[in-house]
């Protein structure tokens, strides 16, 4: 645990250094008080009418084997931070994206690249809808995102 924990800490320390220096446009670090949980805000940069003038809050949770294992990433709902509408984002903030699953994750990915992937996932979306079965899923789900066995059926959205 401690050896792996150190592993994650070292890497996150490096990432934080880089993030503090510069971040791509539309991505803001909100808090990184420890190496377990970080908060970031993202914006969609182009003029997609679904997301104009909105800011979304992302919560990253890192396990001891990050970056070998993917972080847990969800949208968080606050009075001024809605959950973006998207056919792969459930209304409780859980994101269905292969990049965040064990199969699609690569240890070369990092917090910044995940944020950028989510930005582009929103940018490219034209559908004003939630995933099918959203209501049922949000009501019944007691699992953490990493334990959900998502089935990535469509990489085009």
């Amino acid at each position: 645990m401690s050896a792996q924990g150190q592993f994650a800490t070292k890497r996150l320390g490096k990432e934080l250094q880089k993030i503090n220096n510069s971040l791509p446009p539309g991505i803001v670090l909100v808090s990184a008080d420890n190496f377990e949980e970080w908060l970031l805000d993202i914006k969609v940069l182009d003029t997609n009418p679904l997301y104009t003038n909105q800011t979304y809050r992302l919560k990253f949770k890192f396990g001891a084997s990050y970056p070998i294992e993917p972080p847990e990433v969800v949208f968080v709902k606050l009075p001024d931070r809605p959950i973006p509408i998207h056919p792969h984002i459930y209304s409780n903030g859980i994101i269905c994206l292969d990049l965040l699953g064990q199969q699609g994750w690569s240890p070369v990915q990092n917090v910044e690249s995940v944020c950028m992937s989510l930005q582009s996932m929103l940018t490219g979306n034209t559908k004003d809808e939630r995933p099918p079965g959203d209501e049922e899923f949000v009501r019944a789900n007691r699992l953490r995102p990493k334990d959900i066995d998502f089935y990535y059926h469509d990489n085009n959205v």
Partner: protein, 535 residues
């Protein structure tokens, strides 16, 4: 090998066994009839190549032990190694890539070797064996380490990471995710597969063992004709030619050397005569909360005005809805005001005002009662089968006791063992006949089926009763003969029932009240319904 062939021969040979059965219906059969009963003899499994008689529900299969599985892999690897003049590691990777389809591999490789190598993650054979390197100015993209003298590694794609990160990555894949044959380069979007030789220098010895275990597994998992025996601690695999598309026509039940009987199609315990799709639906239905809703609609009524759900738990028929204050009669659902002075006894059943409401209620009640009819019988046999396990253990004690008390030899008390085995398999079958019947639309076949079901059920209950007699009774020779007769009869009735169902299934003569081939309605397409519905 070809399932269609097996299948046809199974069907055609069915004809010569039926008359044989009907002749023997007089229960006179003793031990001679045991050729039907392949359950108590686990050895039969491997001698299935040329069984003397084939029945419609019987399919051919083979059981392989771990050493057989290893040998098959080695043989294939050696063969490809020689034919294509590539190393064994590469032959193994190529075979895994082609899902152990040797012919296709050789054909494709002869055609365009480079393309095949690239697709399988082998690229072009690089110079020299893989090794760790120290490269000046190297920064690891995973841990961001830039220390001088850092050992690093890359496979042929050139994506280089420090050896620590590589080891972390591999142990995650092997230990946690159970991957082996297709571990890809850690780089994002790089599909190159890490070969066995590279793994050998990267993983620690305890991990190597697990790695090879997992590799062995992929051989079985990659081949559609092979499946692991699902029994706990059983390491055997079963080969069977029945294909997925045939599952609406046949229930491929196989029996492992460990004596576990399971369905090759869905790996669940023996569920003859019900086809896999029905089994899946039935189990889902039984597990679903939807039956709660069914209960509600059958045991409660809705206020005719505001539709609030009401359960009457006592009192008179004069209902006043708590929500909307609507007054109605519980019996006829009509307006209470229309009841005039005949309070508290509703004799206005034919009145129009309540007719529609009652119709809806009645429909829902019928469907619930139908379900419960089949479910109760299914569950009863399931429970009895479990109790039979207990009986089986008691039987062993009884047999020892019997040997002492009556002076019978070991071989002479084996009839109890046979009886107990018969009870278990017959109950297993009976259980599934009820799930089967639930989905069956009524026709002439159904009548015959229900007769068969009734016969088997009566025989089983009869045998069960005899079986529970005290040891003193069991020792008497007339009861012994009776039990042996009944055992044979039970086994025979089971064969007849399975013959009939399997035959009609193969001919497509059953009419189900659900679509058999259709994919089950599941949860959201972007999420696995299994994990979502877990509470």
């Amino acid at each position: 090998m070809d399932s269609e062939d097996d299948f046809m021969s199974a069907v055609s040979s069915e004809d010569d066994i039926l008359p044989d059965d009907s002749d023997n219906d007089d229960m006179s059969g003793g031990e001679d009839d045991f050729d039907f009963d392949d359950e108590p003899d686990p050895d039969l499994g491997i001698q299935k190549d040329a069984p003397p008689k084939k029945v419609a529900y019987d399919i051919s299969f083979k059981v392989y032990q771990p050493s057989d599985i290893q040998k098959q892999q080695d043989d294939l690897i050696n063969e490809v190694n020689m034919i294509l003049d590539i190393s064994k590691e590469e032959a193994a990777i190529l075979l895994r890539y082609f899902r152990w389809n040797k012919e296709r591999l050789i054909e494709d490789y002869m055609d365009k070797p480079l393309k095949v190598l690239e697709a399988a993650g082998l690229f072009q054979a690089a110079a020299g064996p893989p090794k760790l390197e120290i490269i000046p100015g190297f920064v690891c993209d995973i841990c961001c380490e830039e220390e001088e003298g850092l050992q690093s590694f890359s496979i042929k794609c050139g994506h280089r990471y420090c050896v620590d990160c590589y080891r972390h990555y591999l142990s995650q894949k092997i230990q946690e995710e159970g991957e082996a044959a297709r571990i890809q380069c850690p780089a994002d979007g790089c599909n190159l597969i890490i070969d066995a030789r590279s793994l050998d220098i990267l993983v620690t010895p305890e991990l190597t063992e697990r790695y090879h275990q997992l590799l062995n597994r992929t051989y079985v998992e990659d081949k559609d004709t092979l499946k692991w025996c699902p029994a706990p601690d059983c390491q055997n695999a079963v080969e069977c030619g029945v294909k997925k598309k045939d599952l609406d026509k046949v229930v491929p039940t196989v029996s492992c050397l460990c004596s576990h009987r399971f369905c090759f199609g869905c790996i669940l315990n023996d569920h003859q005569p019900a086809p896999c799709e029905l089994v899946k639906r039935w189990l889902k239905k039984c597990a679903d909360d939807s039956e709660t809703a069914n209960w509600i609609s059958a045991n409660t009524k809705e206020c005719p005005k505001c539709n609030s759900t009401i359960e009457k738990n006592g009192g008179c028929n004069h209902m006043t809805c708590r929500k909307c204050k609507h007054e109605f009669c519980w019996m006829c659902m009509g307006l209470w005001s229309e009841h005039g002075t005949s309070w508290y006894s509703c004799n206005r059943f034919e009145e129009k005002s309540g007719l529609d409401a009652r119709d809806a209620q009645a429909k829902s009640r019928v469907s619930l009662e139908r379900y419960l009819h089949y479910y109760n019988r299914y569950a009863n046999h399931e429970q009895s089968a479990r109790l039979d396990k207990d009986i089986y253990h008691k039987t062993e004690k009884k047999m020892v006791q019997l040997q002492k008390e009556s002076g019978m030899s070991w071989i002479e008390v084996q009839y109890l063992n046979s009886a107990s085995q018969a009870l278990q398999t017959c109950r297993q079958t009976l259980m599934w006949t009820y799930a089967f019947a639930f989905y069956l639309a009524r026709n002439n076949q159904t009548e015959i089926f229900e007769e068969n079901q009734k016969d088997l059920e009566m025989a089983v209950e009869g045998l069960s009763g005899m079986f529970e007699q005290p040891v003193v009774e069991l020792a008497k020779s007339n009861l012994k003969v009776e039990i042996m007769d009944k055992t044979a009869y039970c086994n025979k009735r089971r064969v007849i029932l399975l013959e009939d169902t399997a035959h009609n299934l193969a001919e497509g003569r059953w009419i189900f009240n659900v679509e058999l081939t259709g994919v089950m309605p599941s949860g959201g397409p972007s999420s696995n319904s299994n994990s979502n519905s877990r509470r």
